[in-house]
């Protein structure tokens, strides 16, 4: 099913624990953070030092926006690079895993055999 999706749909529907899943979540964090930034939520972070951005200490909405911005900021600077790096490490592990190597080998040899049969030549020996 996943394999049939393309573009953003494929990215968004990638399994969480996959390199693409990690990249998708990183992209999502970047998108939400940029949205928060562009609508000016940074100004609401004065709540961190106990000052309400609107001057009204009972203004919980404003405080919540400040907390939201701070959370996405830290997700942006800490989470996104980790997810991107992890996606790379994950892909490298998958590429190196023994099962995949053996399967790739088998697939490669089968392909070469098929090619040899077509051309009437003996399959090339692996070094």
């Amino acid at each position: 099913m996943d394999a049939e999706r393309t573009g953003w749909r494929a990215v968004l529907h990638a399994p969480v624990f996959s390199p693409q899943g990690f990249l998708a979540r990183a992209a999502l964090i970047v998108f939400v953070f940029l949205l928060c930034h562009l609508v000016g939520l940074r100004e609401h972070t004065s709540i961190i030092c106990g000052t309400s951005p609107s001057g009204d200490t009972a203004d919980r909405w404003s405080a919540a926006l400040g907390v939201l911005y701070a959370l996405f900021w830290f997700a942006f600077v800490l989470g996104v690079p980790i997810l991107v790096l992890a996606a790379g490490v994950f892909a490298a592990l998958l590429k190196l895993r023994p099962g995949r190597a053996a399967r790739s080998n088998a697939e490669g040899q089968a392909g070469e055999a098929a090619l040899s049969a077509d051309s009437g030549a003996a399959p090339a020996q692996k070094a």
């Binding site: 394999a3 004065s46 030092c49 001057g55 911005y69 980790i82 790096l85 895993r97």
Partner: protein, 409 residues
Amino acid sequence: MRADLRELLLAANVPLWRRLLYGLLSLLVATAIWFPCVHVFFRPRVQDYFAPTGVAPQSRALAARHLEFWTRPELKAQEIAKMRGSNAEWDFMGRTFLVLALANMSLREPERKEQYLQIVDQIIDETVRLETKEGMYFFLMDYARSGRYLGQPPRSLFLDGEIALMLGARRLVQERADYRPQLAARVKVMVEYMGKGPAGCAESYPDECWMFDHSVALAAMRIADVLDGSDHSAFAAKWLQAARAKLTDKKTGLLISSCTYHGEHCDGPEGSTIFMVAHCLQLVDEDFARDQYERAKKELRCEILGFGYAREWPVSWKGAQDIDSGPIIPIVGASAGASGLAFVGASSFHDETYLAELLTTLHLGAFPVQRGGTLKFCASNQVGDAVLLYATVLGPLWQKVREKEQHGR
């Protein structure tokens, strides 16, 4: 090739247990790589904030914003309303730290002195006018009204000390005749109230005496001495001796933050107090001030992966979050109030390592906004930014006190 890559990115045909294992392992490795590197991306150049002479570019940008709202009433009203909504003290302290910063900047940049002193005078005159017209409670937290001051008639050392310091700082830069009697009157009343307190302490709030305010008062007295030829050195030495004996936390050797009128300990050592105390006591007893700074640093400084901050309390002291500490970040115990004033301590004692760590944290967690030549930190407020500005330019004023004293001898 493309299908292979797609298969790899989706981890297709990989059993769930293997995906979980590889995924967690990858996150672990990525965290181990990224966390130690983060500080590199947030560490500004210390010299952008702290210059031995002149004014560093970021200090100028910070100051520009303050000058802007002291020349544009609608901006000032908006900023002050935000702070007074949380704490009326911050309105007052924001004025003090800005005056001190501008006084230092006047000495650093004599060619801009007139511009800075115009704002300084505006702040002092308005502050004194408000105190006179609205009464001392205008700049105090509401609970000041709910108790009875034991020293009568009621006065707050918090107000007298900081107004005296503002007046003294202004006169050190350039004499203003009408400020002379005002400073003398403030010093006289501070000496009187500290002298008549059973523990040698004057109240800032009913039955509350604060170390912060006493150290500010002592610094103001010292400035008055070099300006007007008075001599409060014996008074200050005696007070400090008593404080070292009776107002010190035994476990840390740090001065406590507050006591009752009769000298019973209330709050122990606090980061939001002790760094400013050490800075002010530089004018009274340099060696003791340095000792307090070193102890405060040992007890309160924290550093995680290149990010520095200050705790509000030493590990040995359990305190509750309050208006001075600001919100405390759980687990790490970082306090906005203590970390802000740690800049003042570190700058006073030329602690560049700590300053660099604190600046790195500031750039990560205080949300700087640079716009049109001005700089502000969104996670801060006017008083927080004024404290930071003061930390970046302090030095010349205290140096001038020392020089004047040497010439006086």
